[in-house]
Symmetry: C2
Subunit: 332 residues, 2 copies
Amino acid sequence: MSATIRDIKEQTGLSLATISKYLNGGNVLPENRQKIEKAIKDLHYEVNELARGLVTNKTRTVGILVYNITSPFSGMLLHHVGEALRKEGYGMLIVDSCEDEELEAKNLKYLVNKKVDGIVVLPVSSRGNFLNPAKNANVPIVLLDRSLNDAQYDCVRIDNRKAVCSALKEFISRNHKKIAVIASDTEYTGRERFYGFMDAMRDAGLDVPANYQMRGTHSIASGYSGMKKLLSLKDRPTAVFMSNYEITLGAMLALNESDYRSPDDISLLGFDDQLFFHVLQPQVYMVEQPLKAMSDKAVELLLRRMGGDVDEDPMEIALGTKLQTGNSIKTL
Amino acid sequence: MSATIRDIKEQTGLSLATISKYLNGGNVLPENRQKIEKAIKDLHYEVNELARGLVTNKTRTVGILVYNITSPFSGMLLHHVGEALRKEGYGMLIVDSCEDEELEAKNLKYLVNKKVDGIVVLPVSSRGNFLNPAKNANVPIVLLDRSLNDAQYDCVRIDNRKAVCSALKEFISRNHKKIAVIASDTEYTGRERFYGFMDAMRDAGLDVPANYQMRGTHSIASGYSGMKKLLSLKDRPTAVFMSNYEITLGAMLALNESDYRSPDDISLLGFDDQLFFHVLQPQVYMVEQPLKAMSDKAVELLLRRMGGDVDEDPMEIALGTKLQTGNSIKTL
DNA sequence: CTGTTAGCGCTTTCAC
DNA sequence: GTGAAAGCGCTAACAG
């Protein structure tokens, strides 16, 4: 159906090698160059990347395994990763794990079988065994945003514990003692932020009763039900820390449906600033991640591995965060 | 590096043909089947989809060309499209046009060169010439969400004009006369919704002064500056229609920064309900699109074309919308 | 600079 | 049910 390099050979009378050389930026006599370019136009020729990849064993494509493509947070990361890759001449093949570990494992194999040159993983799973097919095939991997319990790959993320710890100072310095947390228990960042929260509270000499510890999934539903439960306690907390975008959103939803208002009735601290939170009243204090820096760094690391720098040990890079101030915290 | 079918041949003593047959689900003696399966395990064999695609001329992969991967609206569509494709055994290769027509054209070629079996397009451009490389290569295309001025491809979207028209009744029936619009002028849905707005106003006998017509890009910035300008008019509108997610978000941002409040000072009607808008006070009336139905239909159409149903003329399918009611509209 | 040749890993006739 | 052989479209020596 489509034209091949052979059709160009017919029309120009040149050899396959010459045409291939032209396609790959080699030097060709001006006269022949013209002939080839004309033929390409005439025949609507486009390179068959399958054939090219088969022989070169390179596809100039990086696979992206993302836990959930509907998350605005991951959408921003994908965008920045895509830009960084494009600058280096790489395309990206995105596959959506739909928060499902089985699908994630299947998708990883798919990427390997498609012969991507490297893979950026925003994992669903907490353990790395699902990545073995890539490892066996020597496809470099970099983890982004979330690390693994048995990490043996490069990873770029924020310093979650430190971020939470310094953000909580906003509560503590304003004399809050009864501070609750809503966090995900099913993935890396949720757990890290929860541990960071508990550590900070212990350091401050504050107790966190079990019913102030809301642990669920990385979802709007979890934030919603978590906040609902907290608001229904006889001994309500005066402040709540919400550990990611979806949870913050769900918690705000629940608060909004209640008769309580922030900061009068309850003080709030959220995670993953997205422009839209600025629309809310009150403006919620938010931990903001350096999305572009994370993406750039991840791509840089991956390309280095793809370039053959394979001896160096896996490194874990933890970037710092900023705190967006607001008016969602009352001084007690 | 990776094992090939040849390595399996070595280990099992069988021929390439038999192994290939096994891989493709053909009948093989139980004894041989066992040998092959053992070898696959031992060698960590994974099919090379490049080689397979080269000979079969099929990749079981559908390309997705999306105008902006950071848009939560498109994220939802991608998710549903992905699920529908997966059910049919197809993977998807997503590429991000970053709202850039040039990049879009480049990405389309990339998909064609990668030999995807079909393409779902959420276009940036308004004209279809950038799709010619796919057409020349006989790669079926279906447009989703946005149509093209010179549409010659199947398209699944909502009935934008009708949606706007019926939503505006909420304003009109409450006696609003001074109604403004903020819409994108750079892509299909923005224009359609704008035209729908103007038609509905004309039908209602209402005038729309030029300074009530805010037309910009599909962006938060446009919504923001549009609303800012409207609020600064001496003769302020009593109601504003916001034509998509990003614009609604930006407009709410501007309103929030002002001293005006909805619905007391201004009534609002938005587009593209995303859960988060429920967090807002007031709850904005929202036109809601049937994202899953749109995605399913688009995939169905595409697969039919991929199956060879190529004679039928391109069809334009316009689905209906729902209106999420709220409390952002005051009766005058 | 150009042409010839071999072969990437797989599927697919066609005999057997 | 299995095997031998050809070939998908391209690149990469190597020779000229």
